[in-house]
Amino acid sequence: MTSLTELIETKRILVCVGSGGVGKTTTSAAIALRAAGMGRKVCVLTIDPAKRLANSMGLDALGNKETRIPDDRLKTAGIARPKGELWAMMLDTKRTWDDLVDRFAKSPEQRDRILGNRYYQQISGALAGSQEFMAMEKLYELHESGKYDLLVLDTPPTRNALDFLDAPQKMMGIMDESVIKLFVNPSLKAGKLGFGLLRTSGAWMFKVLEKVTGFQVLADMGEFVEGFSGMYGGFSERAKRVEALLREEKSSFILVTSPAPSTVEEAIYFFGKIQEAKIPFGGFVVNRIHKDALTMSGAKTEWKKMRKEPALFLKALGASKRGKAAEALAERLSENFQAFQALAEMDAEQMEHLRAETDPKQKKLWRTVPHFELDVHDLSGLARVGEHLFADGAPGE
């Protein structure tokens, strides 16, 4: 793969992954915006984006429903006559769970029993991993609907990147048949351990667990799992298909990071996991790079000289024409620029490190986005990010 343009043209699903605070939401939205400009009907699924970004895209409420971004808004991003369509959706984890239960319940009674269950209410809202699983679930649902040419998923921020890939399996683990066998038992449901049960393998474990935690969720969970009986097959089958879909050729994962040392380490770790899991990999996006401004030959040596002899810097600036104020300013200009160059050097070191650890032969797609002086929180900002993401050419810059 040589460019993001090619990914947009050939893939059906793009998943942006990475640690928190690296600009995943912005990257996902910028990719979707470009895809719409290129004529694709695209939907970006996002999790809690900045309010102004949401507003600028016309997403005012957490609807768990796709919303079309009006064409006149796209104009502000420089797309005068969009050939495609841009849709966006903010994921509501709890609603997605409820929809799933609704879909697979055999009867309204079963559905209500589950939706009203305390254990269900806990895991569907709060459980770590639930959000990740539901993001996948929604992605699958939209893909199956066939309504879109391309889906771009902005994944939830997880400190441990692994959570995301593990989520479906973990969640399905809860409903594993063997767990169900332990639970679906009338005496457990009553919250008491019957005499006969004490001799069976699983029951005493629950007794220990209950003693330790004191949680009465046991009864709730028994009821919850029983409530799911008959639905398990549907759920499990679906989780498998979600996983399979992500491994298909039409899907691609984009690893988003920033040059901060801690996020680079996480990106290296995450890339290893992606390879281990044999998930199709699209490329790297490194946001917020400070670019080296002195790449012209001889520039670095000259700058060193100027640092030693401020008069040379003043001359280069033409500061003498502007009097004392300009000369006084030149000193701060020099300090500030030196600091920026140091940042650029450090970012370059981190890039080098990231490449050496993940792609030493330089075969993958790399895109870098500079650290803008302003926040990106509207469509024109997204278009600006897009210019860098889609500046096709040599790998990286």
Binding site: S19, G20, G21, V22, D48, P49, A50, R52, L53, Y119, Q122, A126, A128, G129, Q131, R159, N160, K170, G173, I174, D176, S178, V179, M205, V208, K211, V212, T213, G214, F215, Q216, S258, P261, S262, E266, A293, L294, M296, E302, W303, L312, F313, K315, A316, L317, G318, A319, R322, A326, L329, R332, N336, F337, A342, L343, D347, E373, L374, D375, H377
Partner: protein, 334 residues
């Protein structure tokens, strides 16, 4: 109300990537420089605090990260709490047998349950924090005992909890109340009660938010403040991290643009350098203005004490930068 450093438990929360760990470390050092014994707690698999101090991993045992050189300086220790280690300790305390722990909690099927049990991880970790805050010195020096009126002083004067990022963060602090509601009586109910007493006690505890002076983190800060206030956590200080220093003023902008015209032509090395330096200055000015605007927005939305920490032009913050930030904090943390 007493100052932040006189509390017993400081919680730092906020959006991912805003520098919670760095701020936690800087506050810890600031307290240690006032003679306190400070313990930083991290949650989860990876450990960041030792990296900041250039120390080796602390793990669940804990290790010393920093000791002041001046007479009367205290120490900073760090400890990493994983759900697994904490659960292990918690269970062993209750059932006393390692074999029972293994049979139950390392069992494949049960593992599913414990991963899924709502709030179990958070509960045991909160319990551990409460235990640590109540711990007393094992071998108190006579002098300290005397100063303390014969009472054994606490092992840790101050605990700094580098809490998980926003979303997961609130789950932690909801857990004691949730447990109290679910388990009406017994030892666990009492334990949860103690946790909540500690968390909600404004003389001992303070819930602080770390943010950047940028759109998204500030939005999350406002939401987090609302959520934590509603829950009943004592509101502390908002730490605005990495604020651009006021290197250039408004009146400089005009000169910067003039210089852009006067500088050597762009086909010369000198011209390239001059333009790059001017660009960097305009970028710095732009970010600084953005930060001012966002801080203004924050100030309007939240009536909380606010401390700004300067942007540090270094990639990897080490002990030296942390001490620098700690000194910066000292004047501001009355």
């Amino acid at each position: 109300m007493s100052g932040l450093l006189d509390k017993r438990l400081l919680i730092f929360s906020g959006k991912g990537g805003v520098g919670k760990t760095v701020v936690s470390c800087a506050v810890a050092v600031a307290a240690a420089r006032k003679g306190k014994r400070v313990l930083i707690l991290e949650y989860g698999e990876d450990e960041r605090v030792p990296g900041v101090f250039g120390a080796k991993k602390a793990g669940y045992e804990g290790a010393r990260m920093w000791a002041g050189e001046r007479k009367g300086d205290g120490e900073v220790w760090s400890m990493r709490l994983t759900p697994r280690d904490t659960l292990h300790e918690f269970v062993i305390r209750q059932v006393k047998f390692e074999r029972v722990y293994h049979a139950v909690f390392e069992n494949r099927v049960m593992k599913y349950f414990t991963t899924a049990a709502p709030g179990l991880n958070e509960l045991v970790v909160m319990g551990k924090i409460e235990n640590l805050s109540g711990e007393r010195m094992k071998k108190p020096p006579k002098k300290l005992l005397k100063e303390n009126g014969g009472e054994v002083p606490p092992e840790w004067d101050l605990i700094v909890f580098d809490a998980p990022a926003t979303g997961h963060g609130m789950a932690f602090f909801k857990v004691p109340k949730m447990t109290m509601a679910m388990v009406k009586v017994g030892p666990l109910h009492r334990k949860a009660e103690h946790m909540w007493e500690l968390l909600s006690d404004e003389t001992r505890t303070s819930f602080n938010i770390v943010t950047l002076a940028e759109e998204m983190p500030i939005n999350e800060t406002i939401d987090l403040h609302e959520a934590s206030k509603q829950l009943g956590l004592p509101q502390g200080t908002v730490f605005v991290n990495a604020v651009y220093p006021p290197m250039f003023a408004e009146e400089d902008e005009k000169i910067l643009h003039q210089l852009d015209e006067d500088a050597e032509p762009l086909d010369t090395v000198q011209g390239v350098i001059a333009r790059a330096a001017l660009d960097a200055a305009l970028t710095a000015r732009g970010r600084q203005r953005l930060h001012e605007d966002q801080i203004g927005r924050l100030a309007q939305a939240l009536k909380l004490p606010r401390i700004e920490l300067p942007f540090v032009f270094r990639p990897r913050l080490g002990p030296e930068e942390i001490v620098g930030l700690a000194k910066e904090l000292e004047g501001k943390l009355a």
